[in-house]
């Protein structure tokens, strides 16, 4: 099993922490994992993205150049990352903020209104969790329960209510169908 993932969006949309969460969840399932952020000026106000690898074998390169799955949370990310998805791979689009449609026909595309769903649950801050839930549901690479468990490890100082909202968002996202 090998899953290379890229997550991209505006700084503040939680793409960096979503990536860490995936890696932590992978570790909880005794997988080999790595997480690598795009770091620097772009993380201040601009777009941010990170690479995550979850694999049963040793992780060789931590920089994912041909991701199996790409999650785009905003418009500019679609243009940047759509071309990278492996043929046959999965592209998850936050359709609340992304109006354009991907051009490629050799990949699977899931439209998830992450911000809208998150807002209905309580706060748009958890739009990233909806996307992660969709990822878990569509790929089966990780279970929502493990990601929920990882939440406590990654956000050590988060309030229980907030964690609960996160789990709700994950579960709602996992209902996504293509």
């Amino acid at each position: 099993m090998y899953q290379g993932i890229r997550i991209s969006g505006f700084g503040g949309q939680g793409v960096i922490s979503a990536g860490i969460l995936l890696a932590q969840a992978g570790l909880l399932e005794n997988k080999n994992v790595s997480w690598f952020p795009a770091y620097g000026a772009e993380m201040r106000g601009g777009t941010a993205n990170c690479s995550v690898v979850i694999a049963s074998e040793e992780v060789s390169s931590p920089v994912v150049s041909r991701p199996d799955t790409v999650i785009v949370m905003n418009e500019p990310s679609l243009a940047k990352f759509e071309p990278l998805v492996k043929p046959g791979g999965l592209l998850i689009i936050n359709s609340s903020l992304v109006n354009s449609k991907p051009k490629r026909t050799d990949i699977k595309v899931a439209y998830v209104p992450c911000n809208k769903i998150a807002e209905e649950i309580g706060t748009t801050k958890i739009a990233n969790m909806v996307a992660l839930g969709a990822y878990a549901g569509l790929t089966g690479a990780l279970s929502v329960d493990t990601i929920a468990k990882a939440l406590g490890k990654v956000f050590k100082r988060a309030k229980p209510e907030m964690l609960e909202l996160n789990v709700k968002a994950l579960k709602k996202g996992a209902e996504t169908k293509i």
């Binding site: 997480w35 690598f36 992780v59 390169s61």
Partner: protein
């Protein structure tokens, strides 16, 4: 011990140093190593140690010079431009035979360069670094786990030989998160014996001097000969390296640090296609695993060096192999290659050496028959003539300079 924790490379490096007994850190912010001082700023006081954000790298390394002279385990870290600033002080520590430990989380250069990962500081690290006739022990981790476990090794080597030791990492190793398992018992600094040269209170003993000069006629040369002998001993005893799929390999990739991870990805793709490709990774860059490579070159006749610099590391490989095998270079000076592009080079190279491999096999089974060998082939054993190693071959050069626009921007 035991538990696997998800950590950033820089944090693992800092925690590893603290667990190894470091109780003094001075540093200065520079991307991509900022997590080290940030982590130390709360972790060291918690462990009863001292953290100082110095006003500059020059100051930071001299704080280390002072603290290390008192015989405690210290650490400083920086990234390329900052390490350059520290070289004066590192040379002073080498001149004073002080065991210091520092880390360079390399970024693109020269100058301010950029903040992306690079291996451009290879020569600076393995050839001494500062002015004067000395070496630094250089360990090159290729995972967060090694980032966490190597500081202890660095302290032990530095103290055993009384000289600077360093970890040569890069922006990827510093910024990425992976599980780390600290595979040693935390070192209690109190359990470490104070060295016989350390400064402190001179009560009841003769005064001691820590200095890096000796102006007496002929004395410095004597001292440098003692160091030279020590360096020789280290080259004999302290070499570390890793091999993968070497036994049947016809082509061996040689890479260190992050490059070795990428080379491993390319190797895997090649193996999946049935190519006999192996990987050799020096872990100590100084001392360099010369003998191991030389020995391997008696059997393996093709090497491909992968490095994130213009061709610095390849020089050491060439020196080790000393003309007994062919060495190709795939270089990305301040660029980060991916497994696919390295595999493309491997594939091309492997196809080109295939006839030679086949011929060699044929020759082995029928030693009498002379194969369609190129002109200079010796009538006996080796079919493929041993050429003098050449600089970068055209075919690889082309690939290396293709595409890749490094994005402008980043923290400095």
């Amino acid at each position: 011990m035991g538990e696997k924790i998800l950590m950033k490379g820089n944090e693992a490096l800092a925690e590893g140093a603290v667990l190894a007994g470091c109780r003094f850190f001075s540093g200065y912010p520079i991307t991509p190593q900022n997590e080290v001082p940030e982590y130390m700023s709360w972790r060291l006081p918690e462990a009863g140690g001292t953290f100082i954000q110095a006003e500059s790298e020059v100051s930071a390394i001299n704080m280390i010079y002072g603290a290390a002279a008192t015989g405690i385990r210290t650490m400083t870290s920086s990234s390329s431009p900052g390490i350059s600033l520290k070289q004066e002080g590192i040379s002073y520590c080498a001149g004073a035979d002080l065991p210091i430990f520092f880390a360079n989380v390399v970024r693109g250069g020269p100058g301010l360069g950029n903040i992306a990962a690079s291996q451009g500081d290879y020569n600076q690290s393995v050839k001494g670094g500062g002015h004067g006739d000395y070496h630094t022990i250089v360990l090159a981790p290729n995972s967060v786990d090694e980032m966490g476990n190597f500081p202890k090794k660095c302290y032990e080597l530095a103290e055993k030989y009384r000289m600077p030791s360093m970890i040569l990492a890069d922006g990827i190793l510093g910024q990425m998160m992976e599980p780390v398992e600290f595979k040693f018992q935390p070192v209690d600094p109190k359990s470490l014996k104070k060295p016989e040269w350390s400064l402190g209170s001179a009560e009841g003993r003769k005064k001691r001097i820590v200095r890096s000069y000796d102006l007496r006629e002929g004395e410095l040369e004597k001292l440098n000969w003692i160091r030279a002998k020590k360096f020789k001993e280290i080259e004999d005893k302290e070499v570390l390296f890793e091999e993968k799929n070497i036994n049947d390999a016809q082509l061996v990739l040689v890479a260190y640090g992050t490059s070795s991870r990428i080379a491993a990805a390319a190797m895997k793709m090649a193996r999946d296609k049935g190519m006999k490709v192996g990987l050799f990774r020096p872990i100590t860059l100084w001392p360099f695993p010369k003998k191991q490579l030389a020995k391997m070159a008696q059997r393996v006749k093709n090497f491909l060096v992968v490095e994130m610099s213009q061709g610095q590391f390849v020089d050491d490989v060439r020196l080790a192999i000393n003309g007994t095998a062919e060495i190709d270079l795939y270089a990305r000076p301040s660029g980060i290659p991916n497994g696919e592009e390295v595999f493309a080079v491997v594939d091309k190279l492997y196809q080109s050496i295939k006839p030679a491999i086949a011929a060699k096999k044929a020759e082995k089974s029928k030693p009498a028959k002379k194969a369609k060998a190129p002109k200079k082939a010796k009538p006996t054993k080796k079919l493929k003539p041993v050429k003098k190693f050449q600089p970068v071959k055209k075919k690889t050069t082309k690939i290396k300079t293709a595409k890749k626009s490094t994005k402008k921007g980043g923290r400095r």
